[in-house]
Amino acid sequence: MTGGTVDNARIVSIKGSTVQVKGLSSYRMGEITFVGEEKLIGEIIEIEHDLATIQVYEPLEGLRINDPVFLTGKSLSAELGPGLISNIFDGIQRPLEMIKKITNSAFIERGIQTNALDRKKKWLFTPNKELQKGNIIHGGDVLGSVIETNTIECKIIAPPSTYGELLEIQDKGEFTVTEPIVTIKNQDNKKSELTLMHEWPVRVARPFLKKIPVHEPLITGQRIIDMFFPIAKGGTAAIPGGFGTGKTVVQHQLSKWSNADVVIYIGCGERGNEMTDVLREFPKLVDPHTKNPLMDRTMLIANVSNMPVAAREASIYMGITMAEFYRDQGLNVLLTADSTSRWAEALREISGQLEEMPVEEGYPAYLGARLANFYERAGQVVTLGSPYREGSINITAAVSPPGGDFSEPVTANTKRFVKTFWGLDSTLANRKHFPSINWFTSYSGYIDVIEEWALESGLEDWGRYRQEMFTILQQDSELQHIVELIGSKALPAYEQLIILAADIIKDGFLQQSAFHPVDSFCPIDKQMKMMKLMLLFYQRAHLLIKNGCPISLINSLKSVQILKRMKEDIPNDNLMLLNKLEDHIHSEMEELGSKYGYKV
C-alpha cells in the first residue's frame, strides 16, 4: 500500500485512534486514506455530511489539526499472489521482515509503507496449456501456475470480476508479480492486462460458484478432537478458555499437524513471544503429510497485543481474504485465529470512539453480525472458473472469555455461529490434563457427516467406540460425586472398574502431550487401535469381575500401565507393535482367569 493523492482535505479533530476530516473530494465508506505528513494508514468508517471519520492503523501522536489527508481510491485490500506463504505480516499485510529492513530497528516505527508481495522477485510461470487465443476468460479461470514453495503450487487465477477475450498469454518464463502474463480484451473493446497478483477488498467475501455440504474430516492428529469432537473440512470451531487453559497450544497443534493444504495463523492481540515461538519452531518442523518443512504451507499474521488496535480489527479480515485466495485455487485452508476476543475488544474500542450506543458489556450492537459475517466465510465451495475445483476453509478461533465465564457476549455470540465447540476447562488445566478440552461441555455438529465418512473409509467401528467410551466417562462422572463423599472403597467392584477404565481413557487417550516427540501427533489408525484396546480391556475385566475376581487384582495388572503409556511408547511408524500389546493384554487376562478359575 503506497502512494495516494493529496486532497484539499484537512483534519478537524483527533481522538483515540480516529481522526475526523473535512473537505475530501470524495467520500466513500471504507476508502483507505493516508493521514498527516507521515502518511499514517487509515480507513474511512463513518460519514456525516462533509465530515468523515477515519480509523487509523497507527498511533496518532504528533498529528495536528489541518494536517493533510491523502486519498487512495482503494478499499482496504489484500495483495493476493505467489509469495504469501512462509511470510509473516502485520494486521494490514505489511511484511514484518520488510519493516525490520526498512527501519533497521527492533521496533515497529510509524508511517512505514511497503507492499505485501516482493515486487522484485521473479517467479517461474507455467501457462495453462488449455488456453488459446480467442478463448473467453472468466473470473476464476486458471491462467497458469507458479511453484510457490515445495508444498504449494500457486495457481494463477483470473480475478473474480474478469470477463474478456484472450489476446495473449506469455510462454513459460520468469515474471515479477506485476508484469503482465495475460492480455484480454473486455466487452467494450478495452485491453486489460492480468498479472501474477491481484488485489481484493478484505471486507468483501470473495465470490464462489456455490457452497456444498462438508463431507470429510480435517484430520488433526489430536485424539480428543479427531475421535470425540471432530471438525469437517470447511467447518468452524471455537476454542474458548480462561488464561492458562492452553488455547494457544491447541491452536499451535492444529496448525502444525492438521492435514490442511495451507495454514494461516492469525496472532490477533496476543503475546509477542508466542509469535516468535512459532517463527522459531515451524521452520524446523516437518509436515507429517508432505514431509516438507511446515513453513512451506504456513503464513502468519502477527498483530500482537501492543500493536495498534485498529490494525487488530483488520487482521481477521486480512487473514480470511488470504484464505479465500487459496481456497479459490482448490485447496483446503485452515485459518486459526488467536484470539477473536481481542478482535471483538478492538471493535468495542473503536465503537466507543465513535460514541455508538453500547449494548452488553460495552460491545456494539453489531458484534453478533460481524462475527456471523466472519464465520460464514468458512465452508466447502465449488470455485468460480474452470477447471472445476472444490476448495474449503476451516476456521478454528480461540475465544478468551473474561474470568473463564462462557456466558459473556463474545463466547455466547460465537456459539451461535460455530458448529464445533471445544470448551477448555481450568479444572482440567490445573491438573495438567492437556488438552484441557472438557468432554461434557464440548460438542461437534459434524458427527453424522464424519460417521458416514468413517463407514466409507474402513473405520466402521468409530461411532461405536466413541459411544462406548462416552458411556464410561459419563458413568465415571456420576460415580465421582459419590467417591467425593464416601471414598472409592465403598463402591462395588464393577463400579470401581468403571473408575479404572475412565482413568485409563483420561490418562492414556484424552491427555496428549504437545511437547512429546511421539505423542504430539497421533495418526488415525493408532487412535482407533488405542480405543479398541482400552475397550477390550474394559470388557474383559468386566467379565472377570462378574465371575468374582477382586478389583485389586485388575488394578495391579501390567496392562493398566501399558494402556496408559502406549500413546508415547508405540512409535507412530510401527503400529504393528500395538498388535503385540493386544496379545499381551489377552494373555495377562487369561492368566489371571486361569489362576483363579474365573472365566474370561
Binding site: E61, A106, R271, V304, R348, N430
Partner: protein
C-alpha cells in the same frame, strides 16, 4: 518545534482542562501549566477538536485559576532523558530527581510511550534464572526476558518474596561479563511498602544498581499512568541500547489500573467490566509487552528485560478484570495462597495455580538438568492427587482412606512442609531437585508414571545417597 503559550482555559473538570482558540497543537503533545509560587504542572494532549484541546494534567487541577493561567505547549511528545547515570538514583514519574541530586542531562532521550517490538526481532527467551526458591525454580521456572506477575492478596507476603528474589536471583552472569540493573516502578505504594523496598535494596547491596521511579499512594493518580512507562523506557534504553540485563519490578498493577479507571471515567469513556475501560487490555499490553529480548544487528542479543509485577487481587478474586486481563498477557503467574499463609507456610505459593509459560523451553538437558521436566511433572501430579485425597479425608476422615490414598496424602503434606515451606533459605537448583527426588522416594515406584525408569535409576538412588 516552536513552543506555543496560551492564556486561560475554558473548562476545568477532574484532572482535565480544556483550552479553546489554539491551533497547531499535536496529538499527545507535552505541555506545562505555569502557576504562581508553585512548580509548573505537566500534562498531555488527549484529544483535539478544531481549536479545542483536551488536556490531562498529571498533577491535577486543584487551585488552577481559569482566566489567568498560562499553558505552554512544547511542540513535541513527552520525552525522558535517559542515561546510565540514572542508576542508583530516585525519580518521580516524570523523570525529575527526588533525591536532591541534579537532573539528568543526556544526549539520549526517548518517547515514554515506546514502540511495539517487531515479533521478527524478538529472541525467544530460553535462559533460566535461578531464584533460589524451590517452588519457582523447579515448578515455575523464571526465564530471562519473561514477564511474570505475582498475584497476591492484601496482607500476603508478596513483598517479602520479591525481596528474596532480588537477594538471591542471578539475572546476569556474576563474573562481570554482563551488566545488571534493577528498575523499580512504585505505583501508588504506601510509604511503608516504599520504605521496605528502599531498605531491601540497601540490605542486598543492590542500591547502586537500582533506578527508582516513585509514585506513592498520596501522589497523583494521573501521574501514575506514566510510572510504568518511564520505568520501561529507561529499562529499554539500558537493555537494548546499553546491553544490560534488566530486572523491572512494578508494584502495584492494581493501583495503576484504578488510576486508569479514574482517568477514563473523567474522559467519559464507555466502561466495560466493573467500570474499567474497554481498552484496559491494550493498555496493560503496552506495558507488559515491553519485556523481552531483541536481537541486535548481528543477530545476537542486546540485553534483556525481565519483569516481575505485584498485583493485589481485590478480595483475592482471580477473575477480577485486573488479574484476568493480566493473566491473558503475561507469560504465567505466581499465585500466593491465603490458606497456605495461614498455615504458616512461606513462601505461600499456590503450586497448582501458578504457571510459567516459558518454562518448557528453558529447562531440561542443556539448561537446568535432564531430569527436571519429568521430576517437575511428577511432583505436580502427585501433589495434585494428594490434595484431592486431603479433600476426601476432610469428609470421611483420614483413617477411612485406603493405603494408596494415605500415602499420597502424606506426600502432599510433606511436600508443603519441606519443599514449599523453605523460609529464607537459599536453595540452588541442584538442592531443590534433590529435595524433589527425596520426596518422591516416599512413593511406591508404580506411582511415578511421569518419569522414565532410566531417570529413576540415575537420580533416585543418587539422592538417597546424598541424604545418607
Amino acid at each position: 518545534m516552536a513552543r506555543i503559550t496560551v492564556k486561560g482555559v475554558s473548562e476545568i473538570r477532574g484532572p482535565l482542562i480544556v483550552i479553546e482558540g489554539v491551533s497547531g497543537i499535536q496529538m499527545g503533545e507535552y505541555l506545562e501549566v505555569n502557576l504562581e509560587n508553585q512548580p509548573s504542572r505537566k500534562g498531555r494532549v488527549l484529544a483535539i477538536e478544531e481549536e479545542r484541546v483536551i488536556v490531562l494534567l498529571y498533577q491535577g487541577t486543584y487551585e488552577i485559576e481559569k482566566n489567568e493561567i498560562e499553558t505552554e505547549f512544547f511542540g513535541r511528545t513527552m520525552q525522558l532523558f535517559v542515561s546510565e547515570d540514572m542508576i542508583g538514583r530516585i525519580f518521580d514519574s516524570l523523570g525529575q530527581p527526588l533525591d536532591g541530586l541534579p537532573s539528568i542531562y543526556s544526549e539520549d532521550y526517548r518517547d515514554v510511550n515506546g514502540l511495539p517490538i517487531n515479533p521478527t526481532s524478538r529472541i525467544y527467551p530460553r535462559s533460566y534464572i535461578e531464584t533460589g526458591i524451590s517452588t519457582i525454580d523447579i515448578m515455575n521456572t523464571l526465564v530471562r526476558g519473561q514477564k511474570l506477575p505475582i498475584f497476591t492478596g492484601a496482607g500476603l507476603p508478596n513483598n517479602k518474596l520479591i525481596g528474596q528474589i532480588v537477594r538471591q536471583a542471578r539475572i546476569a552472569e556474576q563474573d562481570g561479563s554482563e551488566k545488571f540493573a534493577i528498575v523499580f516502578g512504585a505505583m501508588g505504594l504506601t510509604m511503608d511498602d516504599y520504605i521496605y523496598f528502599q531498605r531491601l535494596f540497601k540490605e542486598t547491596g543492590t542500591l547502586n544498581k537500582v533506578i527508582m521511579f516513585s509514585n506513592l499512594a498520596s501522589d497523583s493518580a494521573a501521574e501514575r499512568l506514566l510510572t510504568p512507562r518511564v520505568a520501561l523506557t529507561t529499562a529499554e534504553y539500558l537493555a537494548f541500547d546499553k546491553g544490560y540485563q534488566v530486572l523491572v519490578i512494578l508494584s502495584d498493577i492494581t493501583n495503576y489500573c484504578q488510576a486508569l479507571r479514574e482517568i477514563s471515567v473523567a474522559l467519559e469513556t464507555v466502561p466495560s467490566r466493573k467500570g474499567f475501560p474497554g481498552y484496559m487490555y491494550s493498555d496493560l499490553a503496552s506495558i507488559y509487552e515491553r519485556a523481552g529480548i531483541v536481537e541486535n544487528s548481528k543477530g545476537g542479543s542486546k540485553g534483556s528485560i525481565t519483569m516481575l509485577a505485584n498485583l493485589t487481587m481485590p478480595n483475592d478474586d482471580i477473575t477480577h478484570p485486573i488479574a484476568d486481563l493480566t493473566g491473558y498477557i503475561t507469560e504465567g503467574q505466581i499465585i500466593l495462597d491465603r490458606s497456605m499463609h495461614n498455615k504458616g507456610i512461606y513462601p505461600p505459593i499456590d503450586v497448582l495455580g501458578s504457571l510459567s509459560r516459558l518454562m518448557k523451553d528453558g529447562i531440561g538437558e542443556g539448561f537446568t538438568r535432564k531430569d527436571h521436566p519429568s521430576l517437575s511433572d511428577q511432583l505436580y501430579a502427585s501433589y495434585a492427587e494428594g490434595l484431592d485425597k486431603r479433600r476426601l479425608a476432610e469428609v470421611i476422615g483420614r483413617k477411612e482412606l485406603n493405603r494408596r490414598d494415605q500415602i499420597l496424602l502424606s506426600f502432599a503434606d510433606k511436600f508443603e512442609e519441606t519443599f514449599v515451606n523453605q523460609g529464607d533459605e537459599h536453595r540452588t537448583i541442584e538442592e531443590s531437585l534433590a529435595l524433589g527426588w527425596s520426596l518422591l522416594s516416599q512413593l511406591p515406584e508404580t506411582e511415578l508414571t511421569k518419569i522414565s525408569g532410566e531417570l529413576i535409576k540415575t537420580y533416585m538412588t543418587k539422592s538417597e545417597e546424598e541424604i545418607a
